[in-house]
Symmetry: C2
Subunit: 354 residues, 2 copies
């Protein structure tokens, strides 16, 4: 880590960033403005190999063993939504961020920031949700912290979960290892979490209720790694900014082109209908139990089979490939056969989705 930063060094981090001099909702969206903030402010300050990797976790080495370490705060609104709540989301989100590095998650911390006046009955429900989600993901909550802020200075409850996992194999997984020729897979229908939360928030009734896909992906990931060995190059759970943001980050970090085929991307009919009514592109809507996997072509079928054999991967599909042309760009063959560019999301269509 470089030496201390003094006020005179501030010139090397000029403000405004992306033409803004205050924080906007879009700075938390997982899209272009958040990316700018990360690149221009956070990476400027914390210049180190781990953060520079820009993955959702850090890989740290202690006594010759490799671990992943990650953190995530949850501010989802509403805190209770179809089939889940902020507590389960907070556990699964961090379990997934540990697992996508190919690690086995072991221990979680839970930090609560609660607004004065929050009902203890709701807190009990959420704490039980956290406990049960940890049980299902086979991780232990071993340390915690509770802070209370005055009424009107928070919003019911915010939850931070951080976690540690252990990497048991000796190959490397991360967006920097993606190569042209890699095949892109996903384990099922997209955009379910985002639609579930927004329908509850806005009191929308669709013909079929869409429920959040929140799930711990660690067991599915173990099966994938068994099937792929070192042929798996990168994995990520496409949360904020959806599949579009994840693929754009991958293309950007590994300087490759990415091509996907619209007709192959799974999505439930109810989700497609809701997106149409709301004017959302499902590619940009958050998931909490989906996994994008990039794997060498020769292992793609084996990985697809392994995913389909798992309860969380029954609808798994191959949705695209990595190419050397157009580095940094994601393009999609549309249902009618043309091609369009899938940009990094700009602005914020669904704030506080996780």
């Amino acid at each position: 880590m470089k030496k201390e930063i003094n006020p005179e060094d501030f010139a090397s981090c000029p403000l405004p960033i992306s033409s803004h001099d205050t924080i906007q909702l879009a700075h938390g969206s997982g899209g272009k403005m958040m990316n700018d903030l990360v690149q221009k402010l956070f990476l400027w300050a914390f210049d180190n190999n781990q953060l520079n990797r820009q993955d959702d976790n850090a890989v740290i080495e202690i006594y010759g063993n490799r671990f992943t370490f990650t953190t995530d705060s949850f501010v989802v609104d509403p805190i209770f939504f179809p089939d889940s709540d902020i507590g389960e989301l907070a556990v699964n989100g961090t379990v997934n961020d540990i697992s996508i590095g190919g690690a086995v998650p072991l221990y979680l911390s839970v930090g609560l920031i609660i607004e004065e006046g929050f009902p203890l009955e709701d807190l009990r429900k959420i704490v039980v949700s956290i406990k049960n989600a940890a049980h299902r993901a086979d991780v232990s909550v071993v340390t915690g912290d509770t802070k209370v802020v005055n009424k009107g200075k928070g919003d019911k409850i915010f939850i931070n979960t951080s976690g540690i996992g252990v990497i048991k194999h000796d190959f490397k997984i991360g967006p920097e290892y993606i190569k042209p020729g890699d095949v892109i897979l996903i384990n099922g229908g997209i955009a379910e979490h985002g639609i579930a939360v927004i329908s509850k928030r806005e009191n929308l009734a669709f013909e079929t209720t869409v429920i959040s896909d929140t799930a711990p992906l660690n067991n599915l990931i173990e099966r994938i790694i068994e099937a792929s060995g070192e042929a798996v190059h990168a994995m990520r759970d496409p949360t904020r900014g959806g599949v579009a943001a994840t693929l754009n980050e991958f293309a950007d970090i590994s300087k490759v082109g990415i091509r996907i085929i619209e007709d192959r991307i799974p999505a439930k009919e109810a989700v497609r209908g809701a997106c149409e009514i709301l004017g959302f592109d499902p590619l940009y809507v958050a998931n909490e139990g989906k996994l994008v996997v990039l794997v060498s072509k020769e292992k793609a079928d084996a990985v697809l089979d392994a995913m389909r054999a798992h309860p969380l991967g029954k609808e798994a599909a191959i949705i695209g490939e990595v190419i050397s042309d157009n580095p940094g760009m994601v393009s999609m063959q549309t249902g009618i056969g043309g091609w369009r560019i899938v940009d990094m999301p700009v602005g914020e269509q669904l704030p506080r989705i996780c």
Copy 2:
């Protein structure tokens, strides 16, 4: 970890807790109500050896090596206060929670929850503060997360820091190892952080400005362990609830009595004056760079010398002892020679101090 909790099990965690059915500011105070919430709700749900220890960190074992893992959220108001800010506080707080278990802190995560409209200039200051504090404490920030909440749904910025340290010795340190006969030491004047924050919050001008004592204690703790070996039984940084809360938790967890001597407890004149004006007992006011150490009698002088030789321990003092009488009780010999009971803090005198 026991199996999942079902709604019918809720009866074993009856509400209200401490006669409240909503969260009060005092639930975040480090005092009796927070203790009740931890015991009756959190330990009920997350029944495991680590949480049951009720220390400020978890000791986890992976591949035969011992690590500490901890989390802390910071909601201090105001975010800038005499000589420091929320960023430095967040780093030092977690460095200290790792170190008090006798571990060497290595890696931190930083999770930001920012209110829409927060000035990027202030964010840059805080990020630099985090970076510089990490540099001084010799730890790396390796992973992070940023969330943004709508204006009026947060309060400027909340910061979670979690962290990992490695335990390099083979003895055990924690409140459960305290024994009658142990000597109690502190490394300097108490109540400075609390007074610094409250004076800024309330725009109070005292004759001398009191500045926060926030500091990373890891290096001091390494010196203490070198001097004590396995004779050091417990350490804690007395933050929320002050020295009174820390000693009461120690007495409660290890079922011992604790006796301290008022005249031996260091505190700056300006702090004593401010406490008198504000009606605070300095024993209950938060510290952020103080360390309470419990060590076997035969090593007490060696530890005192080691503390005094360190820049953060020049005013170190022996302030009391552990006895077998009156288990669970903290008592203090007052300046005029009588004895009074030092209770666990009840209610909340200084909300959002960290």
